[in-house]
Amino acid sequence: MRLRLTLCYALLFVAVALVLLYTETVTLRRHFAEAQDDALLADVRQFSALYHEFGLQALAGDLRRAAEARGTENAVMVFRRSNLAVAASSPLEPWQDVSLDTPGLAELQPGDVRFRTLPVPDLHLSLRLAEACLDDGNYLQVGQVETAAPAVHHYQRLFFWVLGGTLVLGVGLGWLLIGRAMAGVERVTQTAAGIGLGDLTSRVPRLGRGREIDTLVDAFNAMLDRIGTLVRELREVTDNIAHDLRSPLTRIRGLMETVTLSGESLESYREARGQVIEECDRLVVLINTMLDIAEANAGLKKPQREAVDLRSVLAEAHELFEPVAEERGICFQLELPETLPAVAGDRRHVQRMVANLLDNAFKFTAAGGQVSIAANPVAASVEIAVADTGCGIPVANLPQVFDRFFRGEASRTTPGNGLGLALVQALAHACGGEVSVESEVGKGSCFSVRLPLAVTMQQEK
């Protein structure tokens, strides 16, 4: 993987560099050729002007001086009569191998200028030659060794050195960088593989090398945390199911077994029959409540968010529990303000929360005690408070009262499944609310549920 990535990048780099080199070379060549042709043309103009003004003698001297100034092996100038015979020239010794009698020269008309490129054998050079037919029918040839080729060669050589250097440096650096990036990915992969083998506790270490890798590591670890929480919750639920289903099943089985074995009266059969049905119903309630809590906690089902009129829900709940209060000699009060803004939530969920809190309050309040239910707007929410004058909860147990299956010392002997308050919390959280509890041993407890106002629900939309 690492090698493949490095090679790919190197290859891509070289390809791009070669394309660049090619276009540069072509442009350079053209540029040099044009500059040289312009210079040759200027020479032709200058020499022909000299010839017209001062005659052949002056030109001959000038041609020699000019060639010597440029180097006789670099430049050549030839003046020919209209019959092509050489009348004056710069030193021709270095140019013996070059055929300066270019074909078609005679066809040039006076005033015409043409360019030729002639190879110089042995030296691997070319001669660029400007040929002109002067006004009097004589010919002037001005030539210069091509300057483009050596310059371009020089440029190319330089380019390849730089390219080579860059390539070595780039491949080396790329190898290192890819190695580091891959190491980060490798760590994530190894952890993922470990988790595949069942180890959910491991986390990818964050080494602080490369922001992208760290972001990946963070996201991966956050995902692991969430999975861990879900798995732990699921395990807790299964453990609790195993435990809490066993007890009622044992009772059901025991009930039927004793009745069957003892062969008692019809009345005891009837009694056992009713008890078995009640146990079964409790089992169903237990399973359903656990599912409700799990559903609300996992956020799998978005609760219906409607505007709930708390006054009517609380009044109904008060009306529902009132006979129980009377029967048990408990003073049951409902304290509602004149008006109460609607809260956002699911009416059935609110019913359930209030009923569960009242269940709880009545369970722990003895005859002569007091249970009250109140609701008041607090900031952008409404707080429902259910207070009792029951036995209270020890401070040490307060953080646990909303936990699933938590049952304090006082409630061990009372009927209940330890899920009521957990469901209240799960339902409250599901609709964006909060739960809290205050309690003093011997004086009583006050459970509160805060639910968001329906107005904020609309603003959210």
Binding site: G274, C280, D281
Partner: protein, 222 residues
């Protein structure tokens, strides 16, 4: 009255069939969706009880197909799924009622009877009577041996519900749902307490009671 049960779990079907036969219905039982659809399509049943998870053809498709064929037999869906969405899916397919497993038989029976009453379109009586007790739903008045009995609104609704089901057992869950519109039964014995108060108002000491408690199942008025 003939009831069709489409249910692949034979033991469930057996106890439902037994209970329904005891209540005076004749019962036929299909164990898979396709057979059930075939039988139901004849239209000779008064009520069909259909499980959702069935071999060959699931319950929801069965009901849809049945309705497409123009058969209007009332259908009660039985399901192990209890979410609102599943309930809605069942009702949208064309079922008339929805019952979640595990269900109490008395509740199933009450729903079967309610559907038959609805289809036969017998107008609901506005005055109900049992022994010396009379209830007038229009004037919302209850009399015991001619003497006016003062009931709170919920007590009136509770008594009306019991009287409309005279002789049939109604469970606490059914009472919570019909009288208070709660879809659960609180742990506190709210129904018992209410029933106790109602009894004290409509029963005379020394005379045989009107409301009987059936332990574990519910209450019956007779």
């Amino acid at each position: 009255m003939t009831v069709l049960i489409v249910e692949d779990d034979v033991r469930t079907a057996e106890f439902v069939a037994k209970g329904l036969r005891q209540a005076g219905y004749s019962v036929e039982h299909a164990t898979d969706g396709r057979t059930g659809l075939g039988w139901a399509s004849t239209g000779r049943f008064d009520v069909a009880i259909v499980d959702v998870m069935l071999p060959k053809l699931d319950g929801i498709s069965l009901i849809q197909e049945l309705r497409q064929r123009g058969v209007q037999t009332p259908v009660i869906v039985l399901s192990a799924k209890r979410s609102v969405d599943d309930r809605i899916a069942g009702l949208q397919a064309g079922s008339d009622d929805y019952l979640v497993k595990p269900f109490s038989f008395s509740e199933l029976l009450a729903r079967v009877q309610a559907l038959i009453r609805r289809v036969s379109a017998i107008p609901e009586a506005t005055t109900l009577g049992l022994r010396g007790l009379e209830l007038d739903t229009q004037r919302r008045k209850v009399t015991l041996d001619g003497e006016r009995v003062e009931l709170q609104p919920r007590e009136f609704e509770l008594l009306e519900y019991l009287m409309r089901n005279t002789g049939r057992v109604v469970s606490k869950t059914m009472i919570m749902e019909h009288v208070w519109d709660y879809n659960f039964d609180p742990q506190t014995n709210v129904v018992e307490a209410r029933m106790c108060r109602l009894r004290s108002k409509i029963e005379r000491p020394g005379e045989p009671p009107l409301i009987h408690t059936v332990r574990g199942v519910g209450y019956v008025l007779e």
